[in-house]
């Protein structure tokens, strides 16, 4: 959700090329919803996400948010399922696809991200979830996650969320060390993390904590303390991100002015290695470069959807969407976004219709981040020598795939390439070498 890329102008009616729409409608790929909450009480110094404090909102208020999101859900339903938008019901029924009221791709996941979603009253979250469920349906095992600031959750709030259908919570812990939190401008009380996690678990929510490492001034010792405290919380899922200093943030300016040293790649690498070893020891396994879970069923379905190229609609100002090779992103300011929806216009600012080459490259880029890695058969033959080199240099490992295909009878075999620990840290090098 950081700085917007540059794309082509997006059509004002939100229409999607008919070929993509057809692929979306007929594919087996999962479908997800991202819902953006563009509010924070303060802006953290490292954050370049599309979020606004009360004073920055101008003609838009938090109470307008749920109504506008619901408008965008209705708008998305029009775009994806109106016959005027290139969707030919007759043709689809001829091809054996069932259309009509029984939508065969109900949502596999919903994710409320921010910003600070926990600033939204639980009742508004409930309205959004029920609109999504009514419009698209939810899979029985659908994952519904909400990001929360540890200071903003209460037992009552969490209970209402669960009633509304939320079943997973991601708590922004970032660090256990006060001076690191101060550098990051995080205002929460570190002790509240434990309270929030315990409350969430007691309410029956799947719970994850988010960590950030490599902040200016953070020592390896500081990080070890954070990691140990995070493990002690006994969640089933942990995400940890090396701090990225984005242009335009306060932290970027502070570094430019020499107030802080920029994060060191070497130290961040050391921190990553420590983290991975400790989490493994504590019973976690990595399943994506920055994500660890205790068992496969605790992995985040929503995030995996991004990495395996599923379809999703991103609701809210600045949110990104992906439908069958078309990516677009909404206008950033909440007032402008909501204004467009009020006029029944698409809130999309720009989009990209990906070429086959781009889809291939993006596929490698995203799937390589996952524990399941890349199937050799999916890598173009001209990159196979690079694969062998990367294996011999210890950046990739080769695994034999041997599993029953879904049809049951035939056993498919092949080779799969997975990043090693060194490879995970040098994933950009790996991808670049596979593509050049």
């Amino acid at each position: 959700m950081s700085k917007q890329p540059i794309g082509d102008p997006a059509p004002i009616d939100g229409s999607i090329p008919s070929e993509s729409l057809r692929m979306f409608t007929t594919s087996e790929r999962g479908f997800s919803a991202y819902v953006h909450v563009p509010f924070c009480t303060v802006r953290c110094g490292y954050c370049d996400f599309n979020t606004y404090t009360a004073t920055e909102l101008r003609g838009f208020s938090r109470t307008d948010w749920a109504g506008a999101i619901i408008k965008e859900i209705e708008f998305s339903n029009e775009v994806l399922f109106s016959t005027q938008n290139g969707f030919d019901a007759d043709e689809l029924s001829k091809s054996g696809t069932d259309v009509g009221n029984e939508w065969q791709h109900p949502l596999q996941s919903v994710f409320f991200g921010g910003g600070t979603p926990s600033l939204i009253p639980a009742a508004d979250i409930a309205k959004v979830i029920s609109t999504l469920a009514r419009t698209f349906g939810l899979e029985p095992e659908a994952e519904v996650t909400l990001e929360a600031n540890p200071d903003t959750v209460s037992a009552e709030y969490l209970q209402t969320l669960v009633t509304a259908g939320v079943n997973r919570i991601s708590i922004g812990m970032q660090s256990a060390v006060p001076h690191v939190l101060a550098t990051l401008d995080r205002t929460h009380n570190p002790e509240n993390v434990r309270i929030a996690v315990d409350l969430a678990k007691a309410t029956g929510l799947e719970t994850s904590v988010d960590l950030i490492y490599g902040a200016p001034g953070e020592s390896l010792g500081d990080w070890k303390q954070t990691v140990q405290e995070a493990i002690a919380l006994e969640t089933n899922h942990i995400s940890a991100y090396a701090l990225i200093v984005e242009e335009g943030t306060k932290l970027h300016r502070q570094i430019r002015r020499g107030e802080f040293q920029p994060p060191s790649d070497d130290l961040q690498a050391e921190m990553y290695e420590y983290l991975d070893a400790e989490l493994t020891q504590a019973g976690f396994s990595w399943y994506e470069i920055s994500n660890w879970a205790k068992t496969p069923k605790h992995r985040s379905k929503h995030n995996i959807a991004y990495w395996q190229g599923d379809d999703w609609w991103g609701y809210g100002p600045g949110a990104h969407s992906h439908i069958a090779g078309v990516r677009w992103w909404n206008v950033k300011h909440p007032a402008a976004w909501s204004e467009r929806l009020s006029n029944n216009l698409s809130p999309a600012l720009q989009r990209e219709v990906l070429s086959e080459e781009q889809i291939y490259e993006e596929g490698l880029l995203l799937r390589s981040r996952l524990i399941d890695g890349l199937e050799l058969a999916d890598i173009k033959p001209e990159a196979h020598p690079a694969v062998s080199e990367l294996v011999s240099e210890g950046l990739l490992t080769k695994e034999i795939i041997s599993e029953k295909a879904q049809t049951g009878e035939k056993e498919t075999t092949g080779e799969r390439l997975v990043l090693t620990l060194t490879g995970r840290l040098l994933a950009d090098t790996v991808i670049l070498r596979l593509l050049t």
Binding site: I289, S290, Y306, L426
Partner: protein
């Protein structure tokens, strides 16, 4: 009303007593071209409306940089006391690298306007050219330009000039090329003071070539000054240095466009077209004579241009090599002093070792290659010509440091130059220090005025080509000017420093330096490269060595992390675009062994333009 000649003297039929040949000696930016423009306008050879700023500087680079690379000659009518004159203004190149061309332009004149910016005073090149003009017995007309500027200090600089040429400060004219103030008086003064040319109209023809320009439509246009005799169209002429004969397809004067004439007589200045396609067939300084009735002696002063500075030019994209060759072939048609031959570098691939008159010449050529021919080039660090005597008594001429022998040598000789540096007196200390650090030997120091000093040093040219001019400018806040001329060679204690990446020699970085400086050069280069070469998957040692002895070492530690930790829905497009950019960047990498070195690192390491890598 602008005074224009009522009657125009006809070429080939002009009495030498009515001819005045003069040039303008000036520093870059001192307004020579603007003054020339004003003269063209006042004499009526260019209409006011067709006046294009700085008409005479034809090449874009010249106009942008305000310098004249190629001289031209313009014939202008002027009337004084009812008598009509033909004034030939010969525009001289204004830079140190083109001393020889300047000397030939001066040899075509009887007088010179010494043009000095009234806000800046005289500069080193102007001084050098002034001395050259005085040696050639030219009448000097001192002029202060830009007197309309608020910062002008004509009193001060008139005194300075008066002291230099031994006249009275009152004799120094004051003009503004921009407003035209004083320019008519100046033209009158030219008629009054510059002597008419002398020559024998009956003698066999002798015309001195003072410029030779390639024109893609007409072939080579040769500018000449008739010394003796005359030349006519359709006549066969002979180039005295090569004895080659050509037919004069066209002969004429420039005013300011070429106008064919019935010929050129004694003292006249004009152009010849013979149909030759290469300026090397019509060389500056050569004498043109009649093929039927050749002169027995050529005019004095002809020499072949000798390159002083060498650099390897390599296309960044190896597939541009053929295009580089074609482009050089084309440039050579208009530049007799450009030399080149193919060479191969292990680090840079296929390119050309090129010889230039000097640093500006190098810069002009590389800029023209990039601008006119669209080539992306790497130029290796400029080198001079070393003469090496080996232990077994052989002599090698080395223009490329990587070819400098590795084994012990008996002696090595480097070219030296005499330099003149003009600067405000407050910088004398730091400039003397700079010159001494560059092995300069002081030969003299003079005060031009109360606060301006001329320093004279003898220095190895190799020290000047390496960053000296930039250093000089930065030590004097841009106030110093520099001129140098070849002064032979000297034996020196020189060694070759090689740079190794992962134990592999990178030929493009080899340099021949004085033994006392080898260590600091090695340390500097190794440090530069450490800053410029991105970290690789493995550790990369960078070493500087003399032969097999390592004198400096730096290490680029192995890269441990490059992955972007976060890659969610909203990051994907941006991340893919970044990847696309990285892919492009990778294409511009040169492999040295297993080490990927970005082109930019080569360019920056060789130019000294360092920005810490990300």
């Amino acid at each position: 009303m602008t005074p224009k000649a009522q009657q125009i003297q006809k070429p080939a039929a002009t009495n030498p007593k009515d001819i005045r040949n003069f040039c303008i000696i000036a520093h870059i930016d001192h307004g020579k071209s603007t003054l020339a423009d004003r003269m063209l306008q006042l004499t009526g050879v260019v209409g006011d409306r067709q006046m294009r700023a700085q008409y005479l500087d034809r090449m874009d680079i010249e106009r942008e940089r305000g310098i004249t690379i190629k001289s031209q000659a313009v014939r202008m009518p002027w009337e004084v006391d009812g008598n009509s004159y033909a004034l030939n203004m010969i525009d001289t190149p204004g830079h140190v690298d083109f001393t020889y061309e300047v000397s030939r332009s001066l040899a075509a004149c009887e007088g010179a306007i010494l043009l000095v910016d009234a806000a800046q005073g005289i500069e080193a090149q102007t001084l050098a050219n002034l001395y050259l003009a005085i040696e050639n017995d030219l009448v000097i007309i001192p002029v202060l330009n830009k007197i309309d500027l608020p910062s002008a200090d004509p009193e001060k600089y008139a005194n300075e000039i008066a002291k230099l040429i031994g006249c009275s400060p009152d004799d120094v004219m004051r003009v503004s090329g921009k407003t035209g103030l004083g320019v008519e008086d100046l033209l009158d003064k030219v008629v009054e003071l510059v002597p008419p040319p002398k020559g024998d109209p009956e003698a066999p023809a002798r015309a001195m070539i003072f410029d030779s320009v390639y024109d893609s439509y007409r072939g080579v246009v040769t500018y000449v000054r008739m010394i003796d005799g005359s030349l006519k169209p359709r006549q066969r002429v002979q180039m005295m240095s090569t004895k080659a004969t050509h037919e004069l397809l066209e002969i004429g004067v420039v005013s300011p466009e070429p106008i064919p004439s019935e010929g050129l007589g004694v003292g006249e200045v004009g152009y010849l077209i013979t149909g030759v396609k290469d300026v090397r067939q019509s060389k500056v300084g050569d004498t043109v004579t009649s093929a039927q009735k050749p002169a027995s002696e050529p005019l004095a002063g002809y020499t072949d241009p000798k390159p002083m500075v060498f650099s390897g030019l390599y296309p960044i994209d190896a597939s541009d090599f053929a295009e580089l060759r074609e482009s050089l072939d084309k440039l050579k048609l208009s530049d007799a002093s450009l030399q080149y031959e193919p060479e191969t570098s292990a680090a840079l691939g296929f390119g050309f070792r090129c010889g230039f008159l000097g640093l500006l010449h190098l810069e002009i050529i590389t800029e023209r290659l990039s601008r006119e021919f669209g080539l992306d080039l790497i130029a290796t660090a400029p080198s001079v010509v070393y003469r090496v005597e080996t232990e077994d008594g052989k002599t090698l001429v080395v223009t490329n440091p990587s070819e400098y022998p590795d084994q012990k040598v008996r002696a090595v000789y480097e070219p030296i130059v005499k330099t003149a540096i003009l600067l405000p007196k407050e910088y004398v200390g730091s400039v003397m220090e700079l010159c001494q650090s560059r092995r300069g030997v002081m030969e003299g120091m003079d005060y031009l005025s109360e606060d301006r000093v001329e320093l004279r040093y003898q220095m190895p040219l190799g020290e000047i080509v390496f960053d000296f001019f930039d250093q000089l400018k930065s030590k004097t806040q841009g106030y110093a000017s520099l001129d140098y001329e070849p002064a032979g060679e000297q034996a020196a204690d020189l060694v070759k420093v090689d740079i190794l990446l992962q134990a592999q020699k990178v030929d493009a970085f080899s340099a021949v330096v004085h033994r006392d400086k080898a260590y600091s050069y090695g340390v500097m280069m190794a440090e530069r490269l450490r800053k410029l070469i991105p970290r690789q998957q493995f550790e990369v040692p960078i070493q500087a060595a003399i032969g097999s002895r390592i004198i400096a070492r730096e290490t680029i530690s192995a890269m441990r992390k490059d992955v972007l930790a976060k890659c969610y829905g909203g990051d994907i497009s941006r991340k893919r675009k970044l990847l696309e950019k990285q892919k492009e960047g990778k294409k511009r990498m040169k492999m040295v062994g297993r080490v990927e070195v970005p082109q930019e690192a080569f360019i920056a390491a060789l130019s000294g333009d360092i920005e810490e890598k990300k």
